[in-house]
Amino acid sequence: MKDKLFKYLLFGASCLILLLSGGIIYALVSSSFEVFSHFGFFNFIQSTEWDSQHEKFGALPFISGTVLTSVLALLFCIPFAFSIALFNGEYFKGTKVAAVVSSVVDLLAGIPSIVFGLWGFYVLRPFMVDLGINAQGFGVLLSSIVLAIMIIPYASSLSTEFISVVPNELKEAAYSLGATNLEVIRTVSIPFAGSGIFASFILALGRALGETMAVTMLIGNTNNIPKNLADTGNTMASIIANQFGEASGLKLSSLIAMGLLLFVLTAIINLIAKYIMKLVNK
């Protein structure tokens, strides 16, 4: 009797996850339905207008801002995250130095987004001004750099795992043929661990897409499609954070619809990464 109850309890808790996911999707879809029926789904994601007075809302500037900053951040983070992965998983695998490096990188992952934002605002932004990027320093470039620092830990810790499970026999075979470290990495480790590393970078991209506070503080918050790296803009997450408080009616629904788009975008990116990892593990 008690056992049965306990089993139901376990099952019930798992069902709660189902309910939770269903509830999240339901809440987002039902609240944004008004927007899609008012503007039409494709009109909403293609329109560049964001006009509270005339109640015209379009998501394109924010979608492009999100994609642009995240992809740039990913590009910036690749050389660093990849180096960390090689440092910890190949060159100094299992040594004290590697342990120190990986715990420092782990701690970097623990820094709250808002603290990154502050640091970017007060320390990196003046740099941007000095470099002559633009008058205020805000913009796509500044937010991508900070985003890149934020996602390095995610990309590097997973790729380290993939690189460190490359079988020693394969590497030793290459060494015995006279290959240098670099050649072993290029011809053995990367082909073996490549898709896993690729998947970890995709996961890091998923992280970057949803980052809110740091980007909100650094991107400049203008509702236009960023034309170049020095331009200011807004991301889907930052427009929600900025305007949700005072929004109502159609604007509120538009912001919730933006949340739905962001949810779908990150879900797709994460699914792709998980799918690749599943293939690798087989």
Partner: protein, 288 residues
């Protein structure tokens, strides 16, 4: 031949150097951030930080003009964070551990794999989207921002981490322990609660601490759910402040800018210390 060998060796060395340089560059931001917070934040560290609520913009401006430290502290944020974290823990840890046990006990069932994928999905949901959802679930029906809404959003973000760490640490427990329990005629619930759970406790504890760490600095969902308050509030149906929300307020108000560093320093120290403790516990339990 020797020249190409030299060339290959040189290339190898250069690559190693590049890897080392890039790796060490990556570690710099952590120390730069810590340094910046310490340098600008230490002035405001005093007892009143923990005993008084955040000052009004006016008081801060007067203090700034007369070149005194800003009066007041962050008690309203501290109490709000503790309140919401406590509620989030109560909501997420039991459910997370139970469904983690379910996943570990039914490894190959179809239902488990669905739940597992959904857990991954939940883990990937951006924090601001969690805020939007909880706004629609809790804030709109209650017609008010509240500490309860804030804690629900934190709980949703903690849940996937707790489930995964429970499942992983339950899997690490050797099957022979379970068989020994069965051989003694123990019931299913006794085996799980008295044998498997204590054996997996280290992993569970670490996972929960890391989950708490992750949500402690979350600002975005709280902006949409708890909103913030200028006084200490322990009523769960009222808007409540939190440490990250205070940082956001201070950041937006030039008069309070001095306080922003101290508050961030405090938050960062909390987060990093819990992080380090959690990692050390994990290490200790792995050896045993």
């Amino acid at each position: 031949m020797s020249s190409t060998l030299q060339y290959r060796r040189a290339k190898d060395k250069v690559f190693l150097c590049v890897v080392c340089i890039l790796s060490s560059l990556t570690m710099i931001p952590l120390f730069l951030i810590l340094w910046e917070l310490l340098k600008k934040g230490y002035k405001q560290i005093n007892l009143s930080l923990f005993t008084e609520v955040a000052p009004s913009s006016m008081d801060a401006m007067l203090a700034r003009i007369s070149n005194e430290p800003i009066p007041g502290g962050i008690l309203n944020g501290l109490s709000g964070t503790i309140l919401m974290l406590a509620m989030a823990i109560v909501m997420s840890i039991p459910v997370g551990i139970l469904s983690g046990i379910y996943l570990a006990e039914h490894k190959d069932s179809k239902f488990s794999s669905v739940v597992r994928s959904l857990t991954d999905l939940l883990q990937g949901v951006p924090s601001i989207v969690v805020g939007v959802v909880v706004y629609a679930w809790v804030v709109r029906p209650m017609h008010s921002y509240s500490a309860f809404a804030g804690s629900v959003s934190l709980a949703i973000m903690m849940l996937p981490m707790i489930i995964r760490s429970t499942e992983e640490s339950m899997k690490m427990v050797p099957g022979t322990l379970k068989e020994a329990g069965l051989a003694l005629g123990a019931s299913y619930s006794t085996i799980i609660l008295r044998i498997l759970l204590p054996a997996a406790f280290g992993g569970l504890f670490t996972g929960s601490l890391l989950a708490i760490c992750r949500v402690m600095g979350e600002t975005a969902p709280l902006l949409l759910t708890a909103l913030g308050a200028s006084a200490v509030n322990l009523n769960v149906t009222e808007p409540t402040s939190a440490i990250p929300l205070l940082i956001w307020e201070f950041y937006n108000d030039p008069n309070l800018a001095n306080l922003v560093w101290t508050t961030s320093l405090l938050l960062l120290v909390f987060v990093l210390v819990i992080n380090i403790i959690a990692k050390n516990i994990a290490k200790k339990w792995k050896i045993q």
